[in-house]
Subunit: 585 residues, 2 copies
């Protein structure tokens, strides 16, 4: 953490005139605030208010200053000697903001103050000296603060406090040591784009009310289809609220393609349908089958090899079995990047089987799709171009803010036919523009959030090569972790061999278990290790990584890396932290 | 639009020292910029940089100024004489931002610049002298700008330009004269909350990674259930990605309640199910039925009276008919606030019928739910407390930014049983906290966007009474519109009587049609009027209102008011604009 006079503090005043010890400088006011706040509050105070001398160097007659900024102290501490100006939030309410008459000034001040709080949080998120999480048990957190809703309004000072409090208890998902989920990290351009999306506050159903976003969805989905390898990027698609819904779309469309009458007649008019996916696939396939009236019993789980990849011969066997039972295989969902092992199903072999039996091939590349951006790693997804549909979540490996999930479909028009209901109040046929841009009727949703802009803007900012660099770096970090622990005392790998994705699955064996025989008692004790270490991690707040059992394997750690902030040192830290927290178990 | 020296310009310097005509003031630098930008750019330039004298009045030794702000000119015009400072975006890329080493400074500058662009847009959104829409046909818009994605990154200057360009073509959904959808307006506290949500960038599936948001969902849904009238606010619920999905959840849960085996066995194990909803209900009921394998033929549309309300006797007749055919009525979806007429189905009579025949009663109050906040108008939703489930979209009548839709369920635990799949990588049973807060497994989604915070923060800021005032005001405006046009020459109401919601449905009859006999030719000509007026509205960009045909009624305007910025003058403007644009037809 920077202290007064150190590098950060003197940022922007290389001549040293910004020294806070010099009471004659313009920033003297900040010194008192600094004493109250400590840490990052000070940093920002310095950054935002601290180099008044600079503009004079540029020849100005003194630095102009934002009225909006003046409205609030960036350090957000009371009492504070910052020149707060004349907007007093204690006397202001939501009704004083725009569209209120004279609402412009308090609005700009208020939004700027919120942004200051957010910027503080952003900076803090990347600071390794801060906690990933300030953990409280649910009942504690419920009591720690008054979260209740009331009849009467609160003033804007209270609202700003709520923002700060909410962030105080939030998980820093952008923190370099947050590895808990497939979606980690906080991309600055993606964040900016999401702020813009909120400000534009519109809905994807028609071109009429979302012209740019509809076009960007068109451009972006086409690009994604090109990368998948469909000729000329042709086909169809949609951004949906998450991979589970994307997978459900795929099931719906596959069913409709085979039995279009299902739309009107329901499953009653259709023979018993069977879907196939691997035993390591995502649970959303079963959720989707339950929802769609197919039933979870009709989702056959195909065996995987020791690396978690679907075994094609078992797939074929089960397809034949289903057919012999008089059932109709309608969908194979292969996984490119399984949730736990990060395994890639053998897509080419599966494509051959799907072709042979005329079954819709879906690829759930929610997690693995990102590898398509990497020339070095895309071979792992080879065969995806033969799929009929693909789920690809840019909010996972590509670091786009949540949520951003695409379903891509090779055949154009099918989604529309499957889902359209021709609502005349939205999709008027006598509009004055090309109606093919009113894409809303191909969705299951009516209103649909704008999820494309953050991906599009990040893509412009990073280029395909930027995503590639990110993917390559994360995979390199996973290999680094694997190389450290594969022969290290106290570790056992859940499966052998170099990780194919960034998933590294391992047990930490505390010293007390290392000499035990490999029997049930050891397994039982081992199963309790990861949960305890994880609980301690959260209580200390130093790092977060996931664990789970799988099949006959008791609780193990699943490390995943999608966080652009993570470095080799953070991987080292994770290992040390696991050992520190688990050695007494 | 404010001009130099006028009220706005001199904001913050009541002593007049901010007069831009006085070249000796600190703000002199802004004068050149002002010449380039015109309009709102100037306003902000003034607002953000224009009162350097003020801090001196507060006794400071000169105003400190944000390095972040210095990095960019708020007017966002090049060339510009604003002191741009030393961050040159033309040489910066996404890779220079956090988590890059030394990324803090460019990050804060960049995000602040994005915010400046957004603040400009916000202010502009409420300015009646600006267009609601700068309309371009899709092919024009595709050609007007390079939207394509490329391999190579672009610099941050280009990224900022993309943000500006995107907003240039966006619909100002907060504009006081935007009436096009049920969701209009831009709430400042909601916007701030959505920015915070983006910054926190997390996922609702577990308490582990969204502790505060999970608790706020709990608190907010409970409050909504209390308002619905379920004892002690008991029950269940979830925020889902829109009303269509909420309605689909209701169908799923109703089906599961009656035939829990459907989850494993699918619709094959279930008799033919029939859902009932009115002919004026939302198309999502049919979309849901198609998706769930029930089939659209199994959604029976019940007749409505002339005001668009479901006729209970027809409902009962159709239920009996279905039963006689050996089918199983499983759901009645009543509508509280239909999409076009804004009609409220007679919930109490429908509840009696549902009770009599033991059918799940769902109320789609996506649009009408907001009236529950108003003591004056909530009688229209009377009977909702007898529903088994309720869809209520705060992003409609309550003005919460998109999207925010709740499904509330009276029976606790049903959602969980219906949807849970026990994914062991997320919902570990040996976690160290109360697992009832891991709410993700009751959702159809896996990852789930945080939609609750904007509603919660708005509720704190406005109080229930603030929502009430908003609802009452919008309904008063609708009545005002109704009173103006009901007897005005050139208007015909689509249905008689005072609007029950803010929907006012009417035809504008151009002079050339007023003397025609009421025959087919007149109908045919009348059907073309609204589309042409709407197209002209969009081309002029002055206002936006929806139109559609319904049943045997040809295209008519459906005015809806949920926009907190709208006033009586805006209603007057709409009428005048319709007449101006339509009088020659």
């Amino acid at each position: 953490m920077a202290t007064p006079g150190s590098g950060f503090w003197s940022f922007g005043s290389e001549d040293g005139s910004g020294d806070p010890e010099n009471p004659g400088t313009a920033r003297a006011w900040c010194q008192v605030a600094q004493k109250f706040t400590g840490g990052i509050g000070n940093k920002l105070c310095a950054l935002l208010y601290g180099d008044a001398e600079k503009p004079a160097e540029s020849g100005g007659s003194g630095p102009p200053r934002a009225a909006a900024r003046k409205a609030a102290c960036a350090c957000n501490q009371k009492p504070c000697s910052c020149p707060k100006g004349d907007v007093n939030y204690a006397f202001l309410h939501a009704t004083d903001l725009l569209p209120a008459c004279d609402g412009e000034r308090p609005t700009l001040a208020f939004l700027q103050d919120v942004v200051d709080i957010l910027l503080q949080y952003v900076v803090k998120s990347f600071d390794r000296s801060t906690k990933v999480i300030d953990f409280h048990y649910p009942n504690e957190l419920l009591q720690e603060y008054n979260w209740e809703l009331a009849d009467q309004p609160q003033n804007l000072e209270e609202i700003l406090t709520h923002c700060q409090t909410t962030l105080k208890y939030a998980i820093k998902t952008g923190h370099p040591r947050y590895f808990n989920q497939l979606s980690t990290g906080l991309d600055m351009v993606g964040l900016a784009a999401d702020w813009l999306t909120s400000t534009a506050n519109t809905n994807m159903f028609t071109y009429e009310i979302a012209p740019v976003f509809v076009l960007l969805e068109y451009v972006t989905l086409k690009k994604m289809r090109e990368i998948i390898g469909w000729p000329g990027g042709s086909g169809d698609g949609i951004f949906s609220p998450g991979g589970a819904i994307s997978n459900m779309y795929a099931m719906m469309i596959a069913r409709f393609k085979m039995f279009p009458e299902v739309k009107e007649k329901g499953m009653a008019a259709v023979p018993r349908l069977i879907a196939f996916t691997s035993e390591h696939s995502h649970f959303s396939l079963k959720k989707g089958a339950a929802a769609l009236g197919i039933g979870t019993d009709s989702v056959i789980l195909i065996k995987c090899d020791e690396r978690g990849k679907m075994i094609p011969s078992d797939l074929e066997r089960r397809i034949l079995e289903a057919k012999q039972n008089g059932f109709v295989p309608f969908l194979v969902s292969a996984t490119a990047g399984t949730t736990v092992y990060g395994a890639f199903d053998p897509l080419l072999a599966i494509a051959d089987i799907c072709k042979k039996y005329k079954i819709w091939m879906h690829v759930d590349a929610a997690w693995g799709g990102g590898l398509l951006m990497s020339r070095k790693h895309k071979w792992k997804v080879s065969g995806v171009e033969r799929a009929n549909s693909v789920t690809w979540n840019p909010h996972k490996m590509m670091g786009v803010p949540l949520q951003c999930s695409a379903l891509l479909v090779r055949e154009e028009g099918l989604m529309q036919n499957c889902n359209q209901m021709h609502a005349s109040y939205l999709f008027q046929q006598d509009k004055h523009y090309d109606l093919s841009y009113d894409t809303g009727d191909k969705a299951l949703q009516c209103g649909r959030h704008v999820d494309v802009f953050k991906l599009w803007l990040m893509w412009r900012a990073k280029g395909t090569t930027g995503f590639e660099a990110h993917v390559d770096k994360c995979l390199e970090l996973a290999e680094y972790l694997y190389n450290i622990i594969k022969n290290r005392e106290g570790y056992e790998m859940v499966f052998d061999g170099k990780p194919q994705h960034t998933n590294v699955c391992f047990w930490y064996i505390p010293p007390s278990l290392r000499t035990l025989e490999d029997n049930e008692e050891r397994m039982s004790r081992l199963s309790k290790v990861a949960p305890v270490i994880k609980a301690r991690m959260m209580e200390y707040g130093t790092t977060m990584v996931s664990y789970q059992p799988l099949g006959d394997k008791v609780n193990f750690f699943r490390m995943v890396i999608s966080n652009p902030a993570a470095t080799h040192q953070d991987i080292d830290f994770l290992i040390e932290e696991i050992e520190r927290l688990g050695q007494d178990l």
